[in-house]
Symmetry: C2
Subunit: 440 residues, 2 copies
Amino acid sequence: MNLNDTHDPARSSWVASAREPDTDFPLQNLPYGTFSAIGDAAQRVGVAIGDQVLDLGAVHRAGLLHGDAADAAALAARDGLAALMALPPQPLSALRAAVFSLLCNGTETSARAQAQAADLLQPARRLHLHLPCQVRGYTDFLASEHHTARNGQLKGLADPVPENYRWVPVAYHGRASSIVVSGTPVVRPHGQWKTAGGEVVFGPVDALDFELEMGVFVGRGNPQGTPVRTAEAHAHIFGLCLLNDWSSKAVQWWEQMLGPFLGKNFATSISPWIVTQEALEPFRIAAPARPSGLPALLPYLRTEGHAKAGTWNISLSAALQTASMRDRGAPPAVVSRTHLRHLCWTPAQMLAHHTSNGCNLQTGDLLGTGTISGPDDESRACMTELTRAGREPVELPCGERRPWLADGDEVVLHARAEVPGFVPIGFGQCRGVIAPAQPY
Amino acid sequence: MNLNDTHDPARSSWVASAREPDTDFPLQNLPYGTFSAIGDAAQRVGVAIGDQVLDLGAVHRAGLLHGDAADAAALAARDGLAALMALPPQPLSALRAAVFSLLCNGTETSARAQAQAADLLQPARRLHLHLPCQVRGYTDFLASEHHTARNGQLKGLADPVPENYRWVPVAYHGRASSIVVSGTPVVRPHGQWKTAGGEVVFGPVDALDFELEMGVFVGRGNPQGTPVRTAEAHAHIFGLCLLNDWSSKAVQWWEQMLGPFLGKNFATSISPWIVTQEALEPFRIAAPARPSGLPALLPYLRTEGHAKAGTWNISLSAALQTASMRDRGAPPAVVSRTHLRHLCWTPAQMLAHHTSNGCNLQTGDLLGTGTISGPDDESRACMTELTRAGREPVELPCGERRPWLADGDEVVLHARAEVPGFVPIGFGQCRGVIAPAQPY
């Protein structure tokens, strides 16, 4: 089969659940993750297909791969997903094509794979999913002007969007150690803040928020002192995941002086599957046009003429399920629907800016997009915007209201790449339930 | 010999250079670092003694250590310094006592060590010194109110020291990947800033600064969700080093919105030797008194009654040597003299604050103190303060003037812990020379 054919919508998998129309993981996706079997500490690299996980090491040991694909799978099985992420595009493409072929109905290799399916595939629900790799450095951008403007307005700033915003892809370094995989409960943190009455207090935080973002995993890094150009940034992007930038807002507002610190570094959740840049290829769209009237971008940030410096056609949602909704079997209620195109900076621009001073990125680094809010009310992608900082609580089914997240609330993020003529692919879920604060 | 006697000023080493009165590394110091021999890629853990480095693995293989000390040295030799840093205090004390005994004149074990000195010791000048360990997370505090106030005044802020400053140990997450060891040239970065004429430009930065800080290396970490109390913070501090937080100030001021990012993340230099908390024991001083008139600290930040939550009696200096001074053999000219007591937050308070929301610290994390400026002009610990943001250039010997750092300038940081009745100990040097910008 043609190596470039891994997006062919006419193909489908012999794994039945991968043919369901609403699956996030059809044959055309093939995202990577790290899993362990229950009762076995060993972490292994897998590929999601429908509701199953393909064990890459088992596939390799079964002799179903050859050449570059076999080498790449062996590397992943021995050294983990980060080793795979550091590879150049060619062996990664070879591995994707080989896995596609194995899992595709009616190819030469798939009959052998199907015969050994019990050794190669395991139901995802019976596995522990871990962080895909150790996150080295974590940087979070602020790429939605809508999010920036609404926050600035809530704070009563004279200039809700500061002058530098449309020149600089604003970002801060986040905390990598506290990044957790979807499903990990998030304990309500303690923090210091100033109350409306002017008192400075320390205790379990009240104004607890989610922020709907995507994470961009760096594949190949760059040496210190060697910037990556916008045109070449795609060669350093391994893939994307969902990211929930949990925030305690009163703490963040009070501590603000050198950027977010304890207001955010207690936990950041990501989805377990990295959807590769190659899987996202059919869903590319151009970088958003710069609004008329603004000065031209500095040359190092321009995307014109760089086919892979744009963004992707990815729609996203955040849903909320309270404890009482869960008890009654009510599904999570969608509170936000938005789209990656609402961001004014693309991942390629973020990567070019981050390295423009010679800062070295490393395999396993994660770049957050910032809250992906759009212009409409529906696309407000955090509680702060949705509730106007707690003043207008979100109304939930069953009559509950939320100015902020309450203990027992679970936030579920989703995303899906869609474009006519191709099979839609999804990102799985990024879930996290708020656990009560522990005594300090 | 008495295990608690490793600070005894009556003892001295059979290594002659460790008896020089101005050595940073007398017998009572014994800092840890990571080195390799020239032409040998293998990185090894060593202890600085005078102008020599003791190879901990060689000492272990020679059978000169026993019990906990032998186990600790074996661990370091096999897994690197980070493995040693993660140990609890008891084996670390045992190793310190054993190394002290080996290097001390007239002890039982020292005769054997001295007989094998050629195998155990190597002159530091013939070795490559590396980062002591991989820095996991890097957080930089802003613990000098004097630095904060002078910067606020230069910016013309109505409140140069914001209201939250005396409540919150303000900090931001820095970039770990670009931390380099002393001696690594620092390439002048490119950056984006707004000129005095109002134009936004991108190019090699002009306003390049050093910032004299100390770094606190975390030994044992804490699990996510489990804060470390101020009283217990000392049990998580492995030791201290020098830190130069290189900054391009015009970039930092222009990008400022979520804290320092490209203005600082191109490079941070640290000294190669970690002076352990145990070595610093005689030099402890209490946390600075809170100025009268301020509200009491929140309980979680109080140090009263916690003997090890204070700071240390450490004086510091920064010196500058231009290329032409180097050519003429002129020594670096001291431009700043300051003291750790000028900070208003102690390392224990920093660690307690950082973890107060459950954020997990890990072995090998580095906490920067922030620029250690004091009240006097002499104690201004960066160019921004010394030159009032370039307006009043520093006058150097030979008639040179510097509004900011120029290509070829080398910055040399020093620090020394001193207290009557004990042998002073130093931190070695943290050096870095500015290399010209590379073409973008």
